[in-house]
């Protein structure tokens, strides 16, 4: 019975013009989206490599210079693009791509692509994730909205009833007829993406199992939509109404709820403005040692403490240059201040995430979106990871530079310059995105929510749809 229903439905689907056209359009869109993304990916990575190397050159060839001047001159950390961003661009467009690493200051990543684009960019981009997340669910609705209503409208329902068919088997047939084409198209897309990625030059950290997990997430998402569409189709009497209801669900889940969630999250757990943030940091910075200011109360306290520790009575007798030591202490204090304030931002974001997870109860789109971005390493968490790695590197760099001055000069000595080949000794900045296992770990709640959706939608479909 299942296979018969399946065969009949599949035949019918492919006989219909709208299905063929819809499939063709979706495939065409996907093709274009993938092509554009590959171009962009290669382009961005070439620019990234060029920028990174050029910046390192600049750093290495500073010539003779005072280490603290070099610290102010600073260096840049550039954010690379990861292979799976080809499938899901995530929030990449909205985060900056380069962080300026300088003395005394933790800077945020600057130059987000969105800030350089026209207002149209906010409608969305023609990228694979747009098609996977928005258009394929629409395709599911288009294919399945009349699964049951058509039997009613054509009068075949009475015939079926007289055959004494099992409700469950009939449902399974319909379900698999809807699932198979969607599964095939998704599988083909992901397979193509994988092949494309392995054939790209410098595909970096691409791993097939990440792609596989991502594929499973999308399949789960589509199954949820299939279940909902079939449920609606079995509950309402007319095809037109079934279509309108399914569509309302789509709009609610994919457009309205995410937007509303973003509004609620923002009003409940707001970020400070950039200027407020800077003012707060400054306020806290003033409470500790400032490396450039030997006259402050905190600097005097540090002096006394160090003198006592080394059992000497003048700064000249210390085995290192106290000015550079103070500079380093100031740096450490400032790093702590930044750590505190950025942690506050993170906390706010964790709170915001809770709002998103809460609203995921009415939108399967939300957990899917977050999971997909996370696996592609294009989510906000990865961006935080990158920013933190850059900060750790910045702090290490400052120590590296201050230590050099502390060891090679005496207190009160001015005009010291480190030799021209000193700069090369600073290790280069390296950042690796999190591994798949830790991503899964971090997103276990999203996986849980998606799982609940999957189970609940199946249960409701099987128990409430008494078609026969």
């Amino acid at each position: 019975m299942i296979s018969k229903t399946f065969l009949k439905e599949t035949k019918e689907l492919f006989r219909e013009g709208r299905v063929r056209i819809a499939f063709l359009i979706v495939l065409l869109l996907l093709g274009v989206a993938v092509w554009i993304s590959v171009e962009q990916y290669q382009n961005t990575n070439e620019q990234y490599a060029a920028a990174k190397n050029a910046e390192r050159e600049v750093w290495n060839n500073q010539g003779e210079k005072n280490p603290h001047s070099a610290a102010h001159y600073g260096t840049y950390a550039f954010k690379p693009k990861y292979p799976l961003s080809l499938v899901d661009q995530g929030v990449d467009k909205y985060t900056g791509t380069s962080i300026f690493l300088e003395a005394h200051k933790r800077n945020e990543a600057q130059f987000s692509a969105a800030a350089d684009q026209t207002g149209l960019a906010r409608f969305g981009d023609l990228t694979p994730d747009f098609i996977l997340l928005f258009i394929i669910p629409l395709l599911i609705i288009l294919l399945g909205y009349n699964s049951f209503t058509k039997e009613r409208e054509m009068g075949t329902l009475t015939l079926l009833k007289s055959q004494g068919i099992s409700s469950f088997k009939w449902l399974m047939g319909k379900w698999s007829a809807l699932f198979l084409p969607i599964f095939t198209i998704t599988a083909v897309v992901f397979l193509l993406a994988g092949v494309l990625l392995t054939n790209l030059k410098d595909f970096g950290v691409f791993k097939w199992n990440s792609l596989l997990v991502m594929f499973l997430v999308y399949v789960a998402y589509y199954i949820i939509f299939i279940n909902m569409v079939l449920l609606v189709s079995s509950l309402v009497k007319k095809s037109g109404i079934s279509l309108v209801v399914s569509l309302s669900i789509w709009i609610l889940a994919c457009l309205a709820v995410p937007k509303a969630a973003s509004n609620i999250a923002e009003s409940k757990h707001p970020y400070p403005t950039r200027q407020e943030f800077a003012a707060n940091v400054l306020e806290d910075k003033k409470k500790g040692v400032d490396g450039h200011n030997p006259w402050s109360k905190e600097a005097k306290m540090l002096e006394e403490q160090v003198l006592k520790e080394y059992g000497v009575d003048s700064l000249h007798q210390l085995p290192f240059n106290f000015s550079a030591y103070r500079m380093q202490k100031g740096e450490e204090h400032e790093a702590e201040v930044y750590f505190k304030h950025y942690n506050y931002l993170k906390e706010q974001y964790v709170n915001q995430s809770r709002v998103y997870r809460g609203l995921a109860a009415i939108s399967p789109y939300l957990p899917t979106r977050f999971l997909s971005m996370a696996i592609a390493s294009t989510d906000y968490d990865t961006h935080w990871d990158f920013a933190d790695a850059a900060e750790t590197y910045r702090i290490a760099t400052q120590k590296f530079l201050n230590d050099n001055t502390a060891q090679n000069t005496k207190y009160g000595e001015r005009g010291y310059k480190a030799s021209a080949d000193f700069w090369k000794k600073l290790p280069a900045f390296k950042y690796d995105p999190p591994e798949l296992t830790s991503i899964i770990d971090r997103n276990s709640s999203n996986i849980g929510i998606l799982g609940v959706w999957l189970l609940a939608s199946f249960t409701v479909l099987f128990f409430t749809s008494k078609i026969v």
Binding site: A54, V58, S98, L255, P258, K259, N263, R274, S296, Q352
Partner: protein, 453 residues
Amino acid sequence: MSLILLLLFGFATYNGLQKVEKRKSDILAAKTEVKENDVLMLKLLDSVERGLSVNATPWTIPTSPMAVGNYHPRVAAMEPQPMTFISTGQADVFTHYVKPTVRSDDFALNFTEMTSPVQLLFGSFDLAFVIVYLLPLLIIAFSYNVLSAEKESGSLRLLAAQPIRIQTWVAQKLGLRFFWLSLLVIVSLLVVFTLLGLSFIVKTTTFFGLLGLTLTYMLFWFAIAFLVNLWVGSSAKNAVALLGLWVTFVLLVPSVLNQLGNTIYPMPSRNLMINEMRNLKADVTEKQDEILDNFLRDHPEYALNDSTQSRGFYHRYMASQELIREELSPLVSSFEEQLQKQQAWIGKFKWISPAILAQESLSKMSGTSKSDYEDYRKQVIVFAGKWREHLIPFLYNNQDFTQADYKDLPTFNYQPNSYSKWMASFMILIIGFCLFGLGLLRAKSLGAAGILK
């Protein structure tokens, strides 16, 4: 139906108002902070002028013009417009106030706001979203089967026997729906605005601009519905066709246009810009003395006749900054030019989708469109120049900043961008009428028999 509209409009307006409130209070807080700091600064100046010793870090004492320029910047704020709550536009990407200092570079002035990128990705549930995205769907839900329902129930044949042309009859039916929906929209908007205490009466032209745009946009969708009703067949097919058109106009056309704009006029790489800037800075640091000499040669008014005075760090620094600014300006403006080209390109094709027209027009009404922020950025850069130029003569003349000079400090006044209020409505109206005309032509060529089939 009216309840749905009330809820949607209410929630969206409330969200918009909240954002505006936050923006206002942020700006106010920043301004108050500057005022408080100014009081402290004047006190310090007073003490110094009276020859008292002051308890402050030496380089922050405001007798130095550079200390004023760096530690006492003015707030350059972009105040919200009366109708800003309508559309978030780019308001979540960009900041609404900056404090340019004499030390900051124009290109380093960061105009983006600290927002979680997830929020930017999802966008905001504002009035513009309800009007551009959701209203058409309501229209589709209520008009997809105007003709086909009659056909399916068999009453169309009866109707055809009446002395009325079918297309006229469909137009009348849709017209009636348009009338009621418009009435509902107007009433709901009025109710929501009144409940939320908005003084829309003060800004009547903008309010009517909003209504005009909403109604013409609705008319466009009714025209589409009219066309589809005459052209396609069964209720379900109509619904599919209408939804396809909705996806095309609201989602696909904007993203394809945006993508094409980016591909044809790609933005130069910001990372490569950084490289350029770094090389330049490295060069400039090496030649600081030479640059200062050249600068002074160009500015004979700053010549020092007093041998007890000398040139310090800031003299060199400001002269080098001036040079870096000049050298980098072609690179920085290449971004602007490219953006303008993209905008012009999109401008040529935006009439393909009235959704783009409507969205853009609503953002302009709110003063939150990209061009508004570009305009603000330019105003700030002009102001930053003014701020610098006001203090530079003090620096090179080695002249102290005094209390008397305080009142002459330049301040920033934001001038909102002007825009044409009716252009978009007019364009959408024309498109709508063209579609109606097309529908009537089609009906004529089909004839009554064709429609009945």
